[in-house]
Amino acid sequence: MPARPVKAQRNTANLFDAAGSYATYVIAVADAELRKLRHDPWELFSRAIQPLLWLVLFGEVMAQVRGLSAGTGRYIDYLAPGILAQSVLFVSIFYGISAIWERDLGVLHRYMVSPAPRSALVIGKAISSSARALSQALVVYLCAAGLGVALSLAPSHILAVILLIALGSGLFSTFSLIIACIVKTRERFMGIGQVLTMPIFFASNAIYPLSLMPGWLKAVSSFNPLTYEVDGLRAMMLSGHASVFGLGFDFAALAVTQALLIAVATFFYPRLTE
């Protein structure tokens, strides 16, 4: 019966076509965002200052405090992955404001009347946020190297760091997009963005170990994706550090959260132009 393989072949071809179309939509959005960044890269330079200050000023002072680094290592080593995760968080958490800005200008309407699936638009935006965040990683690596942090430069570790940052940034930028779709105005968004950033940062293992936290805060931290991002980064960025939760668990926690947030954002995003 020749009909069956032909049909199967056609189905496979359709599947490839659909995947190709989906990829084109995602690339369209991500490419446009990255081109904008290339036209005006100053934002990246100014954003690089904050992680430098944290590492140099905060890191140097807090290194004098005993017991902070949860182990025998130096505090600056312990801190560097936390500051990397923090700068990724700060870059990503305000990303949603650009969606409000685009809605106010009218650019968002152009995406919403196009045949691109809403999930492809959300993923394209998340990828562009990840690319921004990776530039932060470069700054933190250079600075950490300058401060004598024991960085691991094994290619597989660097690849894992890139993936962790991409997931972390994608996740927090998608979260930010959801907030933007709910609050809808720039003023309200700025207020909420400020309120959210600090709890996410402090209720995590970014600058001190979970073991120092009171029980309730430890519980909150265990639901915070940043905790798993930092845990993974610590294991992959430094030589001789092991993951507390297991690298597989860190990745799974981030990937599942990202997938959930994309689903929620896909629902809310079109509401922004209503």
Partner: protein, 277 residues
């Protein structure tokens, strides 16, 4: 002035490209579009006029699938706007009231973005983008950022973006707002060209009666969300028993409605005008 093939003056029986049936949208207690039924023919230039808050933009948002109707239904290019939105989106071009060109991208990059969003095959993208730039007279400035374009250039870029995938219906929400007379005439000529070359229908909202009279085959007047009159400019004037379309509008739509406009509309209209001007 060069006119395309004579379009049908009355709503056609068969060749409708937009049809609405008691289309209604409520926002809380406000009925923004109230039971609108109309039919727009293939190749027709159709004007929607009405005061701010009359429901023009809400109607366009529903027809372009950005907003779901509360009740009633509509088809665009033969597909239902609520249940087949994806099919509708592939076949329409939209020029919004606000800016749709990204100011931080060059003209050419804006067009490449649209080419990808409408899945124009890679082999054809460059050629279609170059054609659109040439048709809009933007070839020289294609590598400049859109934020450095004049108001007229921006509008032409936005029309170019909306036509790359060769839609059969265009929706243009106040396409000439904030333009000088020369810019307005250029937009009118482009609208006629879209009809002539692609036999596309063009749905235009406008505040300007002279524009509606000059450009549109038929005109619908919206007032407080309701369709109060529809016909050619001559028919509307005759029906109101007055000499100008301005007077016909006042006679048919009544006085300024209490719910029309408001701060947000004023801000948006002026912001848009400022960005284009």
């Amino acid at each position: 002035m060069a006119q395309g093939p004579a379009p049908p003056a009355l709503a056609p029986a068969g060749g409708a490209v937009v049809e609405t049936f008691a289309l209604t949208r409520r926002f809380g207690a406000v009925v923004a579009v109230d039971g609108v039924s109309l039919s727009i023919a293939v190749g027709e230039i159709f004007g929607l006029i009405g005061a701010n808050g009359a429901g023009k933009t809400t109607l366009i948002k529903m027809l372009t699938t950005m907003l779901r109707p509360t009740s009633g239904r509509a088809t665009v290019a033969g597909f239902d706007i609520a249940t087949q939105a994806g099919e509708v989106r592939k076949r329409i071009g939209y020029v919004p009231q606000l800016l749709s060109a990204d100011r931080e991208l060059t003209g050419e990059e804006n067009l490449m973005l649209s080419a990808r969003l409408y899945l124009i095959p890679r082999a054809e993208r460059a050629r279609r983008v170059a054609e659109a730039l040439a048709m809009m007279g933007l070839t020289e400035v294609r590598h400049r950022l859109a934020r450095d374009y004049s108001g007229g250039m921006l509008r032409r870029l936005e029309i170019a973006q909306s036509m790359l995938h060769r839609p059969i219906v265009f929706f243009m929400d106040e396409p000439t707002v904030g333009l000088d007379p020369a810019g307005r005439h250029t937009v009118w000529e482009l609208v006629r060209q879209l009809r002539r070359e692609a036999n596309a229908a063009v749905v235009v909202t406008t505040h300007y009666m002279d524009e509606a009279e000059e450009l549109c085959d038929r005109i619908a007047i919206l007032h407080s969300g309701k369709l109060v009159a529809i016909g050619t400019a001559a028919e509307l004037r005759a029906r109101a028993g007055v000499g100008t379309l301005d007077e016909a509008f006042v006679a048919l739509a009544g006085s300024e409605s209490e719910t029309s406009g408001g701060y947000r509309h004023a801000r948006e209209a002026r912001q848009s005008a400022a960005e284009h001007g």
